[in-house]
């Protein structure tokens, strides 16, 4: 498989074309904008927690526009992160980052990565890392109480 097919895997193209959880959330517990001004990727993320003691992430949704990598990353993240605690979200935020910058091998974490493993090919494209990580940085900011727009440029 060539590098382009590694990058634009079926699952990424599918989530780009039909993004999941792609809508505004009324009564969100947290809401934050992610914007990369140089390339124009621009999203708003919404988070709702459940009523449990640990406040698990009940739902993440998003709206906005950007390239296939950023949109698929947002879509896959929004589905993946559902039901996770804040600590778990933090763990996956760090793991995802390490995978797309090539610091860790996706093969070593294949089970816990699930669909996130599709982004392993991004590490071959340093210019596109910021696209894949924008949704994660924004979600991380929303969860940790940031209130200014997040950028990964």
């Amino acid at each position: 498989m060539d590098e382009i097919r590694e990058l634009y895997q079926e699952v990424i193209l599918d989530h780009n074309k039909n993004p999941r959880n792609f809508h505004v959330m009324e009564n969100a517990d947290a809401e934050l904008e992610g914007y990369n001004p140089l390339c124009g990727d621009h999203y708003t993320f919404y988070v709702r927690y459940d009523d449990s003691e640990t406040k698990r992430i009940a739902e993440v949704s998003f709206t906005g526009n950007g390239c296939a990598i950023s949109k698929a990353s947002a879509s896959i993240m929004s589905a993946f992160i559902k039901g996770k605690t804040k600590d778990e979200a933090e763990h996956y935020f760090n793991l995802f980052h390490d995978i797309v910058v090539g610091k860790k091998s996706a093969a070593d974490h294949i089970e816990e990565l699930g669909k996130l493993a599709a982004f392993a090919g991004v590490s071959e494209f340093p210019m596109r890392v910021k696209c894949a990580t924008l949704p994660w940085h924004t979600l991380h900011g929303a969860i940790t109480g940031e209130d200014t727009t997040i950028s990964t440029e």
């Binding site: 382009i4 634009y8 596109r128």
Partner: protein, 422 residues
């Protein structure tokens, strides 16, 4: 008069070489390399051009043999460096047909040239309630400096609108003038759309209101011959790096009588005649605007680029590039789902497009894997993107060293994008 005759003899005698893109390509070493295992196709000249050996060698030779600081030095190397630096100024003057060398100010590039005019002219000549006219297709470099002056003075910006093809509406432009209009700043060739604006006509209209005009020539200088006297522009700004010269140097042309009345832009060495703690006497133009040690090697490189271009008939290059752009445009339009952004009747170099719902950054990445270098994004012209309600475009831009083979590779790359995203 004698000088004018000399000039015209000089200008015609410059054409020494008939234009042939294949032999031109051989002069540009960076074009002959593989990218991701494919021969490079460079379609990003609108962002910056590649450099011919003549430019690279001139700069290297200068650093190896003649380098020193310019002006005031009494030693031989300083004299040589000064001669080369001032020789470059004369070369620029001939290249754009300015009246004299005093009208040529070296800057870091187009952006600094525009900032110089906006700051210096704005400081004394733009007041609260005054108006500055710019167009809807300006590069940020010809928007932001004027916004800064607007915010400092309380002046207003008026915007010349454009139609869906990316052409300025000249009738609307005429209506923008009034007694408060103090400056027109307009791009000659749009970097995002490729539109060639009718600047000569626009200057005539502005002058009928006694309003000076600055022309942003960053994208026009590499693609057409420029005659500032024929245009009758008051200021003309351009960069060396887009016309096969080095980065970090550009030119502000200004009519002598205007440059004389503008205050200096920056203070420092070289721009003074004498300094005491009480009072400083400024140097004459153009030195008044060149504070500090200038980009001497850059000027040497710019002169080499001008000499390189001047071997050819620039009109012949313009015709060739125009045919290449036209044929590329016709061929890309055959793809269903491809939209060309910018369909002006008069265009140069730039082919901006959208491809189905594929984001331009994805197009750029996939093209790159095929060895085809284009630019994707807003091209530092966000208001243009807003005008067409799009976040970005993919932009292929053509130069004298591009060929129909490059267009074939562009077409193959588009096919590959469609295949990946099918």
């Amino acid at each position: 008069m004698a000088r004018e005759i000399m000039e015209s003899v000089h200008a015609t005698s410059h054409v020494q070489r008939s234009f042939d893109p294949v032999t031109v390509r051989a002069d540009f070493p960076a074009l002959h390399q593989d990218v991701h295992g494919k021969p490079l196709v460079y379609l990003d000249t609108a962002a910056s051009s590649q450099k011919p050996n003549a430019v690279i060698d001139a700069m290297t030779d200068f650093y190896r043999n003649d380098y020193s600081n310019v002006h005031r030095g009494v030693h031989l190397l300083s004299q040589r460096a000064t001669d080369l630096y001032e020789g470059a100024r004369s070369a620029v003057r001939r290249f754009i047909n300015a009246r004299n060398d005093r009208e040529i100010v070296f800057t870091r590039g187009t952006t600094e040239a525009i900032n110089l005019v906006s700051r210096s002219y704005g400081r004394d000549h733009i007041k609260e309630g005054d108006e500055i006219i710019i167009s809807a297709m300006e590069h940020h470099a010809n928007i932001v400096p004027w916004q800064m002056i607007r915010d400092m003075t309380g002046a207003n910006l008026r915007i010349i609108p454009m139609n869906d093809d990316g052409e300025l509406l000249i009738d609307e432009y005429k209506k923008l003038f009034n007694d408060r209009t103090k400056m027109v700043a307009v791009v000659h060739v749009s970097n995002a759309l490729g539109t060639i604006n009718p600047v000569k006509e626009m200057i005539e209209i502005a002058h009928s209101w006694d309003v000076p005009v600055l022309v942003d020539g960053a994208q026009s200088t590499p693609h057409m011959s420029i005659d500032v006297q024929d245009l009758d522009c008051d200021f003309f700004a351009f960069s060396a790096h887009k016309m096969y010269g080095p980065t970090g140097i550009g030119v502000l042309y200004g009519k002598e009588e205007l440059l004389e009345i503008l205050p200096p832009y920056q203070g420092g060495g070289d721009m003074i005649l004498s300094v005491t703690f009480e009072k400083t006497l400024y140097n004459e133009i153009p030195n008044k605007f060149e504070a500090g040690t200038p980009n001497i090697a850059g000027a040497v490189g710019l002169k080499a680029a001008i000499d390189y271009l001047s071997q050819f008939d620039l009109d012949e290059i313009a015709r060739y590039e125009s045919e290449l752009l036209q044929s590329a445009t016709e061929r890309v339009k055959e793809f269903t789902g491809l939209t060309v952004v910018g369909n002006a009747a008069q265009k140069a170099s730039v082919l901006s497009f959208l491809l189905c719902a594929v984001h331009p950054h994805d197009i750029g990445t996939i093209f790159d894997q095929k060895g085809v270098a284009i630019r994707a994004g807003h091209h530092c012209a966000q208001p243009v993107m807003q005008r067409f309600s799009i976040p970005a475009t993919a932009r292929a831009s053509f130069a004298m060293y591009n060929t129909t083979d490059d267009v074939d590779r562009l077409i193959d790359a588009i096919e590959y994008v469609l295949e990946v995203f099918s």
